[in-house]
Amino acid sequence: MKRSTLQKALLIASSMVSHAFAEPMAFASPTNIFAPVSTPAKSIFGLSMFVLAVTAAIFVVVFTLLAYSVVKFRKRADDDGREPPQVYGSNQVEIAWTVIPVLVVLTLLVATARVIADVQNAARPDNAIEVTAIGHQFWWEFRYPALGVATANELHVPVSDGNHPTPTFIKLLSADTDHSFWVPRLAGKTDLIPNHPNSMWIDPHETGVYLGQCAQYCGTQHAKMLLRVYVQSREDFERWIREQRQPAVVADAVSEGRRVFETTACINCHSVAGTMATGRFGPDLTHLMSRETIAAGAALNTPENLRLWIRNPDAIKPGSLMPAMQLNDRDLDALTAYLETLR
């Protein structure tokens, strides 16, 4: 019995270790900082590799010295009991192990300063896309001031190819507490601080969806303030912009749901372009169904999740600032049906 339990434990442990180390899958992550696809992230990656190489070299040297002295100078079993020769110091070696680290530090400093300047002081080309990101407890508001588009939580940007770079410059604001915009494969993080505008830029080289999340503690639901960046081909991006600029089209079949929406507290916080709903506290819902997720990425945008989210937000995201709307089932169904037409 004992042996079989031990064997099981060993089996689990060894499978865990092999799972972790043997399979590169264990390091596969959609948010790996070492898989950059945008210039700022790539510059950081280059510097990281240099710093890792230098620190690894230092580690090897010092660790070898430590291991050697621990093994070589341990007290032997046949020790004669006499004290070893007393050495009080040596100016030569002190100078050596001061000067060499100073040189290493200067090298690292120069390499670092270059990357800081490259990323922070990059010129903004005329054709750059401009986005304003506003952090809220606990979701992201994205506005494209030049294009007249407002959306939430899912940022769309065009792919930028080397010959015709179309970077996206993001102005970072906050409506309440501190937040931080972090999509590791695209760029390092920059904070969104109220009353302290910041900016950052990305120029993704490959289409796809890149994940990230808020990286500065901002309150109860900091954990589920998730971020998705959709990098699209130029044509797809322009089509997306055109669609987002359309006002909401309301079918007669859902006028009951629209009545519920416009006569309850929904409109205090949410906007639907072209209707009387102009709230700014929560996400713009004009094209809600064009988004893949709701509740800042906490749930997929399915009819069931949407209905649950309206009925009881705490079931998906406890502590979210969206109140439970206390609707009866009929109104809830009608409201969900209305929201599903906001494409």
């Binding site: 660790f63 621990v70 070893p84 009080y88 680290p101 507490t177 931080s180 993080k189």
Partner: protein
């Protein structure tokens, strides 16, 4: 008849020995008793803070776990951080400093014994205030109990808009009160070291422990003051309508960050320098050699003290400082690697050519050397600002500073426990239990904090109560959590060892390690006022001189 009336109070007193003993401890101004009070107080909070960490680790064991609610999780990390820094690490450092400094410089007590007691009780009251939030912070709002703003409590999350109820007030007051205690202790240590050394002990002949605590005390005064100011400003914002950090009314969240980190980073050295001090006493004794490069060690410590005051904004590389400000803080941060490196090399050189005995205190110090090396190297990575734009506020940072505080500081403090316990109690610690404690804690530490770097590099931010599956974080978080159980077991063994050794341990004698500094020249435990006659010293190792009259240190210093 008359003799009866005289005997009565005497009999009453004799029947209440516990009350008398308690009264003695509560009213004591003896530096040794206060030192022990600090240490016991810190051990209680160490267990509480450890339980808080355990709750967080169980919650993060796998994706979408629901062991605790987000509200509870946020309180746990706030209380864990605040407790471990202010009510575990600080009192441990002060406790050992209180106990050891007068003994090591041949003094009969601290310079200001009453201030010493006052400082301790202020700190004790601060910890009590922080934990009283559990019952007192709800207010009329039902706003939840313990503080949940994170241990660095960034504005404007601490404003009354976002933090209703009184949890933030308890946090603020707890730190304010214990901060006054810390400043009192720092003034006391400074004065004691500068004014109360025994005859013959010039500054250059002090044990390194005294030198390092001198620098630490200076840093406490410089670092705690801005924190205290910031706490007062926060209270003004919350109750007197101030707008220092009120961003809705033109205040600045960034100003709070500067105030906090100009405390926060020197604080790391306030804790690390005493840890260096323990290593600088323990490593020579168990290598049987004098410390290598004493003047350079002193100079490096003073360097760390100065440079350590100018690196704070490396905690703020992501808040949007200019590229030149960022570059300056890269320079200062990396510069501090030089004196720190010098220290590591000098400890290695002390071991070089020695006869190293791996008793428990030395085991902890060797592990410290290895772990502090790694912590320093990950510190260089974080100090390269662009690398930090990725790593900041991720689990990589959490792993890094636990490497410093647990792997560096706590390990040497454990070493200090095993080294000076015989002096404090008169009994030897059990060596077998000590080694068991070491190996359990060593394995647990590395399971937890080595693997914690990885989810950080895979994009996992800190302070999240749960995470999405499919991010590649699950395996690492599970290993990290498993390590916690080893550390908890190690801590249980440690406490058992202290208790067992106190009651059943072998008598230690005055000098069990054949050591060289003055505390080993008096009885174990030392009598009231420490020394029958004030010692006179001629070198840095007065007991070496006594033991080797033909080859004394003062011939070479």
């Amino acid at each position: 008849m008359s003799s009866d009336s005289i005997a009565l109070p005497r009999a009453e007193a004799a029947s209440r020995p516990l009350v008398d003993a308690l009264h003695g401890w509560v009213t004591t101004v003896d530096h040794k008793r206060l030192g022990i009070l600090y240490i016991l107080y810190a051990l209680i909070f160490l267990v509480i803070g450890g339980i808080e960490a355990g709750i967080m680790r169980i919650q993060l064991m796998h994706a979408h776990n629901d062991f605790v609610s987000p509200q509870v999780f946020n309180r746990m990390f706030t209380m864990h951080g605040t407790t471990m820094i202010f009510f575990v690490a600080m009192p441990l450092v002060f406790g050992f400093a209180n106990y050891l400094i007068p003994l090591m410089i041949g003094a009969r007590d601290m310079a200001f014994p009453r201030l010493n007691a006052f400082s301790f009780w202020l700190m004790a009251f601060g910890g009590f205030l922080l934990y009283f939030s559990l019952v007192g912070a709800n207010g009329l709002y039902g706003a939840g109990n313990a503080p949940d703003v994170g241990w660095f409590a960034y504005a404007p999350l601490t404003s009354r808009t976002f933090s209703v109820g009184h949890s933030t007030d308890f946090w603020t007051l707890g730190l304010l009160v214990s901060g006054f205690g810390s400043i009192g202790t720092a003034i006391n240590i400074l004065t004691t070291i500068l004014c109360m050394r025994c005859p013959g002990m010039s500054l250059g002949k002090m044990p390194l422990l005294a030198w390092l605590n001198l620098v630490m005390s200076g840093m406490v005064i410089l670092a705690i003051s801005p924190l205290t100011a910031a706490q007062a400003m926060l209270l003004v914002d919350r109750y007197l309508g101030g707008h220092f950090f009120d961003t809705q009314a033109g205040g600045s969240a960034v100003v709070w960050m500067h105030f906090f980190w100009i405390f926060g980073h020197p604080e790391v050295y306030v804790l690390a320098i005493p840890a260096f001090a323990f290593a600088s006493e323990i490593i020579p004794v168990f290598s049987r050699k004098a410390i290598f490069g004493y003047p350079v060690m002193v100079a490096a410590t003073i360097c760390i003290g100065f440079i350590g005051m100018s690196v704070w904004a490396h905690h703020m590389f992501t808040v949007g400082m200019s590229s030149s400000a960022n570059t300056f803080f890269v320079l200062s941060t990396m510069a501090i690697a030089v004196p720190t490196g010098i220290k590591i090399f000098n400890w290695l050189a002390t071991m070089w050519g020695g006869k190293i005995e791996f008793k428990t205190p030395m085991l902890f110090c060797v592990a410290f050397l290895f772990q502090f090396l790694v912590a320093g190297l990950t510190g260089i990575m974080l100090g390269a600002a662009p690398f930090d734009w990725q790593l900041s506020n991720s689990y990589f940072v959490v792993a890094h500073f636990h490497y410093v505080i647990v792997g560096g500081i706590l390990f040497t403090i454990f070493g200090a426990f095993y080294y000076w316990f015989p002096k404090m109690s008169g009994k030897m610690c059990n060596e077998t239990l000590g080694k068991l404690h070491f190996w359990l804690f060593f394995i647990g530490f590395h399971l937890t904090f080595d693997f914690m770097h990885i989810p950080g590099m895979l994009g996992m931010p800190r302070r999240i109560y749960t995470y999405e599956p499919g991010r590649g974080w699950d395996v690492w978080n599970l290993i990290v959590t498993i390590g916690v159980f080893f550390q908890a077991l190690g801590t249980v063994i440690f406490v058992t060892n202290l208790l067992w050794s106190y009651f059943k341990g072998k008598a230690a004698g005055s000098d069990p390690w054949d050591a060289w500094t003055l505390e080993w020249s008096t009885l174990s435990p030392p009598p009231a006022y420490n020394f029958a006659s004030i010692p006179v010293v001629k070198s840095r190792r007065p007991l070496w001189d006594l033991k080797h009259p033909n080859d004394p240190d003062w011939k070479y210093e």
